[in-house]
Amino acid sequence: MVATVVESESAGAEAYAEAFDAAVAADERIEPRDWMPGDYRATLVRQMAQHAHSEIIGMQPEANWITRAPSLRRKAILMAKVQDEAGHGLYLYSATETLGASRDDLLDKLHSGRQKYSSIFNYPTLTWADVGAIGWLVDGAAITNQVPLCRCSYGPYARAMVRICKEESFHQRQGYELLLALSRGTDAQHAMAQDAVDRWWWPSLMMFGPPDDESAHSARSMAWKIKRHSNDELRQRFVDICVPQAEALGLTLPDPDLRWNEERGHHDFGPIDWEEFREVLRGNGPCNDQRITQRRQAHEEGAWVREAAAAYAAKHTDRLHGEATA
């Protein structure tokens, strides 16, 4: 909570700003009714909406395999995971609404390309092993990014992230376990797992965003404690976590430059193809059009359902009202 500010003309906006800065400095949570700078609000709406959009677009590449999951146990796990993602989308849109945004408006912005979602979902899921690679690498990278958000300065976002991170950690484990089963399975299954890791490794590293010196919003978000660690720091942490896991899986990571650096106490890794990252971000990834078209189509084809629900609710509110006043 931000300390109560006496509202007087002399105190003015400056006192609010000071109270806000003091609260952030003291690691207190900013709550929806607290005063906050316009840019802080806008930054949060942008980031939280992008996160919500990523959850619902992220359902697509995995839902692609629900109907083909190779065992009933895997089918149940995958369905539950895709359902969790819809749930995460719901909490995040709700958390964004505490900042005055509306879900409908945010969805419009997603559908018209004015707001983004994580670029990783513009890559295709070509084999069953991709479901495992998404769990292990993509969800793993997401967790590395998201765990610090549980301490984000904005209360509703931080609290939503606590719950989301718990579920993401289950997602990551199921992906790892899926890949382990493939890696230890038949030669064809092992090859399928290796192929998936080969395709998902570099895009996963790109999920941490551009290098620190090129990141447009990083410095201010760090000052506001929306963000707690730099892109490069988190990327390094992720690489260090993945290397021993890949060994345990019996799979290799597709980077000839990957090696332990005793001096730094970290793994060195090869250069990331930022041109690919920018191209995918620009809309030229393998699935950008497909993802947004499916999302738009689901929304448009569902319009009559939402209208019906609204019409029904309105009729019944009227009827209740009519009965009460009759």
Binding site: I56, M59, Q60, A63, I66, T67, R68, A69, P70, S71, L72, R73, R74, K75, A76, M79, A80, V82, Q83, A86, G87, G89, L90, Y93, R103, W128, L178, A181, L182, G185, T186, A188, Q189, Q294, Q297, A298, H299, E301, G302, A303, W304, V305, R306, E307, A308, A309, A311, Y312, A313, K315
Partner: protein, 233 residues
């Protein structure tokens, strides 16, 4: 274990159909709800199929003619109203069926007791949407009517005898007819007219006779598993 297969296949096939909605639902809350129902059904299917044998062998390695589900559950999703009509017909049946099984002492009683809450929610979900769509806009009303009409001919099979299940089928039919009549009445719709089964006498789903879309559904569902014989996943 014909009965375990019949009930298990119903649950499996409907779970699969509902799973096809993932990423296509009209509103985010329905992504969650439809997946939730699908997961409940898949859970039931796994228990039931395991009573009859190995769940994966049964789900992935049987041919179309060996499946014992009613034709109603294999029908394609269609639009949201079509899916809701299928849900209404089936969940109303399943709630009454599990009610009878839960009260009995067969090997299905424990599952039926456990699943009672789930199927009550499925029926409640379908009922609420039937009301909203039936009494919503002119368009939703027309779509709901069409869904109910199209699927009506598959509802008679729900009351056919199932080998190994000791059911009061008259009570099942009466309960179902009353319940559907009451929901449709509240939704300002009328109960479809016409026969509750097709004109073909060769039998239906419980005898392993299915409709064309079912073969394609199984082809998709079984393809990966069958491509790697003997593999574990």
């Amino acid at each position: 274990m014909t009965a375990a297969l019949a009930l298990g296949d119903d649950a499996l096939v409907l779970a699969h159909r509902l799973g096809e909605w993932a990423g296509h639902a009209p509103v985010l809350e329905e992504e969650v709800a439809l997946a939730n129902i699908a997961l409940d059904l898949l859970g039931q299917a796994r228990v039931l199929l395991s009573m009859a044998g190995d769940e994966d062998e049964l789900a992935y390695l049987r041919e179309e003619r060996a499946f014992r589900n009613v034709q109603l559950v294999e029908q394609e999703n269609g639009d949201f109203a079509h899916t809701i009509a299928r849900q209404l017909y089936f969940s109303t049946y399943q709630e009454l069926l599990y009610g009878q099984l839960a009260a009995g002492e067969s090997e299905f009683a424990p599952l039926a007791r456990k699943a009672a809450k789930e199927v009550a929610y499925h029926r409640d979900h379908a009922e609420h949407w039937t009301l909203r769509l039936g009494d919503g806009t002119a368009q939703s009303r027309e779509r709901m009517r069409r869904g109910l009409d199209t699927l009506w001919r598959y509802t008679g099979e729900l009351f056919e005898p199932v080998d190994g299940l000791d059911l009061d089928r008259d009570a099942l039919r009466r309960g179902w007819t009353d319940s559907i009549g009451s929901v449709l009445d509240r939704a300002t719709l009328t109960v479809p007219e016409g026969p509750q089964r097709g004109a073909w006498t060769a039998g239906a789903g419980r005898q392993g006779l299915h409709t064309e879309p079912f073969g394609r559904m199984l082809a998709e569902m079984q393809h990966l598993h069958r491509s790697h014989p003997g593999a574990t996943w």
